[in-house]
Assembly symmetry: C2
Homo-oligomer: 708 residues x 2
């Protein structure tokens, strides 16, 4: 039992290194699933599993039998009709973005919904055209089908051209790209690649959709401005009212628009197309972008509703559903479909309960296609343009986020801005790829330059904080506590090393080399018989000791990195005392270094190598290193990677900083008491040497090695 | 002072939340440098700074005046001559990889060294051709200059062709690509982009150079196999001995080769070329790859020696030096130069002290170019091919690393394998880009699926470990401690949420919604007067209570997510006791949740949003949440991002798990004592209700809200 004793944190236990703790408390043997085990589970077959997979491919088989007709049918009908009206207008409007005649927008609003009805898992999204996606398809169309007009985004002029075969070809391109995107989505869904949508963070989507909105704005603006030139019929006020009612009910913002000419509306359906392989090859990159963006938008809207109404959706099944819908829709000359936020909002807020509402909206579109399409011919394109633009208002408002993000998190702000720039400059497809890459890079950046700090004790208990932050801190003499608050891997091991070197104030490798050099010289003196050992120290006699600066060759330089070997000398050396006049070794007061690794989530091979080297360098200059705060897993990983050897042992791991500090203090006490008992009072000696013209036979004493 | 007391860890202090600690120990006010401050420092001008920059551009101005002629000159001369001989042969050999006549290799071994002498910072590397780089240039040459032979890598045949203008053009292409790479390197150096080399980890370089070695092997194999066909002159045993001596001295492996025909050697120099802009455009991607690889290899070799001999090198200055060298060398028809590991090894181990050795090696090459080149004409190409191949042995041995890496770190192994595959399949330039992207992705992967765990107390002190690992663990009743050992950001916030939900065993949002639904029904009962309050509880009389399952609309559903508001009710509700028969709410035993965030290095905007939502959901079902182990910086960041509000306060942060546990226990004690004093013994009541056909006016009591 743990008991709070008088509102105090009171603990009394042994000081624990990782090894000591493991002795006191035995770990249970756990079987860790290996990679092969996981593979077996994934690849196992059974009739049950097969049945489950087959059922999941057709979600309609689950929800349709459970359909509550009495309660839901009416709301679905109302929702379906409202959504259908919106879908018609949006279909026409977004077709303009694709640079094809508006009537094809109705196909895009019809066909995908049918297949989604059978295959989709979301109950609330309205499948059909989406401005950003239409923009992306339109960009491909314009790239592959150069128009005669110099203003390549001049949609108004293009409809006036007598070249209806250009229109035909444009539709073909749009449809082909759609089919290809559908295929990509289907393949991704089957291969379970739905997880990629995780990599589209909110900042990225925000920046991306804003850039897309700018693209749309630019493309439509020319069209809007040309409005003045040709004079057309007056507003169809009936339409205005009917549409204004339906639209303003669905959208949060009100659109007022005048009705004029849309042009010839295709009545009925057209035979399916045969995709052109050449177009496939030319547009594979763009199709990838369209596939991903379409899925991402549909999935994020579906997620919102799935969370709100508490039912599960399956990302991979959504991919399959959208893929098949696009293949189907594209084959019948529709263009890429996903979901429109506003239209889905209409479907949900008017009471849509299931995709029956979606099916009904498709029926409304169907009625327009086969029967009453001609009614919309007088509809002016500027109306549709305004509709498309109005849809974008929400997206354009996202500019306000920049300021907010900058104050909160500079990396997220940077992601937003760079995504925006990439999408504007490189186009939507390539821009998306570049943004995702950049975004992942920021994760690396965040961990690459950690704010390392030196810690010290606050309040004389077991709390250690940043030394710079508090006054009245206690740091034991000769001890440094260094904290690295981030994983250490190939990209920041050098940074870590640099920060550590700065923190302790010296470069351990340099000190080691100098000591080894000094040792060579002392050995020479010893061999020449100029140093003699006495019980108290020893005497050296030197006459004109000259320190010859021999150049060291390559191998000799490598030897300087090795541990200091005093085995052949009859005495020990205290590197912090004075050495012979010509032998200079910087003195260091540090004897213990504690590395706080509680936030170091992982090391990789490169950083393990680097870390081991650092540990060796410190140990070789007699600085004890302790590592604290690590998981058991961490140490096991190091064992697995053959990190430990005779020099760097696993005894350096301690549970907490306080454990390590206590260990250091106890070691010091032990050492001091041992020394005092064996040596008598005077523990330190001086090391002086004869100099030319100075004293001869002066007593030189070499101090015995002490730690503190 | 901290004292170890009898080898024990003994601590007695107050229980500290972050706020309580801040009250006891005031933080010092520190000025944090803002982004603008850093910018000002970077952009500040002064004559001193200008002078420093000018000097650093010409390192020779620093080391040449300090040159110790007596000690160093002789070793430099010896080294220069040895290296020169090796450079000649390697230049000829690597020119074959570029698919150009061998004599141009001498230009590549000569010109770059001259400029590097003035601009480079490394004292030991030997600048000149490098097999991998030559391969990359050769790939570009072969792509732009289709040969008549069907075997596109058939170097032997191409030299036999009478089309010397093809050779001319090939040389032009190689030289142009070299100049472009040089320009890219120079620009990168000036823009201080030298840091990109950090992103080439050891595993990546290992996999990449192995793939490059395979490329070389494949290209040379055809050539070697054809060796049988033409018969040529016998070994030039003099050469064999001279070369065998020089080469086997430099290389670790011995090459025996027969000498035969190299072909016409250009004597003297040729006028510089004018780069073709069209080639620039066609090869920009490859040139980037060549620039980066060339720099990376040169820099890593230079780093090894700079570390060994303890002198600083500057990555950006190296870029400038290599860039100028390549521009210079390319202009005079050399091809891309970097450094060869073996040749640098020769220069260093034969005693090279400075780039004087390099300069002398260039003079040797010069002698061959202008005077004795004809001597090498009988040199057989297979010899050179063998030389190139022999150089690769070390690289091919790297295959052994796969097994080693797999055992140690699966991610590093994956980086090696994917780099290898990318470089083989996509070619060296594009393969490098793809590998770096993949490698950075692994850093994201490592943090994306952290091994979350539930902790519990071991040994009844202040140590908390993974509950699965030890027997005899203590977990206070109704408390869960959840640890996430990795940063939380947009790509893993959903994963974190899922793991947390699995750990506590229920979905807090679902519980909240059910409670709110239940509350609605209780309110209805209350309004209908079917529930009455008494001092002990209350009585309810219900005749045929029917729970009507009304469909909730969109807004009503949103209301279910709000905090449970009992203000208007005259009683409290204990959700863990029995409720009216038709009202079912899952009971949860959890009352406190501790999140161990000691290894969560950072949160981003997306994860902050997600985390806040999670905290709200738990708090609204009366589960207290505590977050422990965070830095002061962490909390400040949350404040800056407006994370806290009336519901989620900064009082939930505690210093350690043990502090939080003690706080929970103290709260429980307080609560129990308060309750006992005000209520008397019987704290719990039952909630029963009339059912149809059951008892009437049966006493129903609603329990008062208690926490434990």
């Amino acid at each position: 039992m743990i008991e709070p004793i008088g509102n105090q944190y009171i603990v009394a236990r042994p000081v624990y290194s990782a090894n000591a703790f493991a002795e006191d408390h035995k770990k249970k043997l756990r079987y860790h699933k290996t990679f092969l085990d996981n593979l077996k589970v994934c690849c196992s077959c059974s009739t049950q599993k097969a049945k489950r997979i087959a059922l999941s491919l057709f979600p309609i088989a689950s929800w349709l039998p459970a359909y509550r007709i009495k309660e839901w049918l009416l709301s679905d009908i109302v929702s379906g009709i409202s959504t259908g009206l919106v879908a018609v207008l949006q279909g026409l409007a977004f077709a303009l973005l694709v640079s094809i005649p508006p009537s094809y927008g109705l196909y895009a609003a019809f066909f995908p919904v049918i297949t989604y009805f059978f295959l989709g898992t979301s109950k609330h999204i309205s499948v059909g055209p989406f401005p950003v996606l239409s923009m992306m398809v339109g960009a491909v169309v314009l790239r592959l089908v150069p128009t005669t007009s110099t203003m390549s985004l001049d949609i108004f002029n293009s409809s006036m051209s007598n070249d209806s075969s250009t229109d035909e070809y444009k539709v073909m391109v749009a449809a082909t790209v759609t089919v290809l995107s559908g295929i990509i989505q289907l393949v991704m869904g089957v291969l379970q690649f739905g997880f990629v949508v995780i990599y589209l963070s909110e900042s990225l989507i925000s920046g991306f959709t804003t850039a897309a909105a700018i693209h749309v704005l630019v493309s439509q603006l020319k069209f809007i401005l040309q409005l003045q030139v040709p004079a057309h019929t007056d507003p169809f006020s009936i339409f205005k009212t009917v549409i204004a009612t339906g639209v303003s009910y669905g959208f949060d913002f009100k659109n007022r628009f005048n009705v004029a000419v849309v042009g010839k509306m295709q009545s009925g359906f057209q035979p399916p197309i045969t995709p052109d392989i050449q177009i496939f090859q030319d547009t594979i990159g763009d199709s990838f972008g369209i596939a991903i963006v379409g899925f991402a938008v549909a999935f994020s809207v579906a997620s919102v509703y799935s969370l709100k109404y508490d039912y599960p959706i399956d990302g991979n099944q959504e991919l399959i559903a959208l893929g098949v819908s696009n293949i189907f829709g594209g084959s019948f000359r529709g263009f890429a479909a996903s979901t429109s936020l506003s239209r889905s909002g209409v479907q949900e807020s008017t009471g849509g309960k299931t995709q029956i509402a979606g099916l009904l909206s498709a029926i409304i579109v169907l009625i327009v296609i086969v029967a009453i399409g001609f009614l919309l011919e007088p509809l002016q394109k500027s109306v549709l343009a305004a509709l498309a633009l109005g849809n974008l208002k929400g997206m354009l408002m996202q500019f306000a986020e920049i300021g907010r993000l900058w104050r909160k998190d500079k990396y997220d702000c940077l992601i937003w801005i760079m995504t925006f720039i990439f999408a504007i400059v490189l186009g939507l497809g390539l821009g998306l790829a570049a943004s995702v890459a950049f975004q992942l890079l920021t994760i690396v950046f965040r961990t690459q330059f950690p704010k390392c700090s030196i810690l010290a004790n606050v309040g004389r208990s077991n709390i250690y904080k940043n030394k710079k932050d508090y006054s009245d801190m206690y740091e034991p003499e000769g001890v440094k506590i260094f904290r690295c608050p981030s994983p250490i891997y190939f990209a920041n091991i050098q940074f870590f090393k640099q920060k550590l070197t700065d923190a302790v104030g010296f470069n351990p490798l340099r000190i080691l080399r100098k000591r080894n050099k000094a040792l060579k010289k002392i050995r020479k003196l010893q061999k020449k018989g100029l140093l003699q050992v006495t019980p108290k120290g020893f005497i050296c006699t030197i006459d004109g000791f000259k320190d010859s600066e021999d150049e060291l060759d390559s191998h000799q330089i490598e030897e300087l990195d090795q541990p200091i070997n005093l085995a052949d000398l009859p005495f020990q050396i205290d590197w912090n005392a004075d050495l012979p006049v010509n032998i200079v070794v910087p003195k260091i007061s540090l004897h213990s270094l504690i590395l706080d690794f509680s936030a170091v989530s992982f090391l990789d091979i490169s950083s393990m190598r680097g870390l081991k080297k650092i540990l060796q360098e410190f140990m070789r200059i007699k600085v004890d290193v302790y590592i604290v705060g690590t998981d058991d897993d961490f140490i096991e990983k190091l064992v697995q990677c053959e990190f430990f050897d005779d020099e760097v042992k696993d005894s350096i791991f301690f549970l907490t900083i306080h454990d390590a500090i206590l260990q250091i203090l106890m070691k010091k006490d032990d050492s001091t008491s041992k020394f005092n008992s064996s040596q008598g009072k005077d523990a330190k000696f001086d090391f002086t040497i004869n100099t030319n013209g100075g004293l001869r036979n002066r007593e030189c004493q070499v101090p015995v090695e002490t730690k503190f």
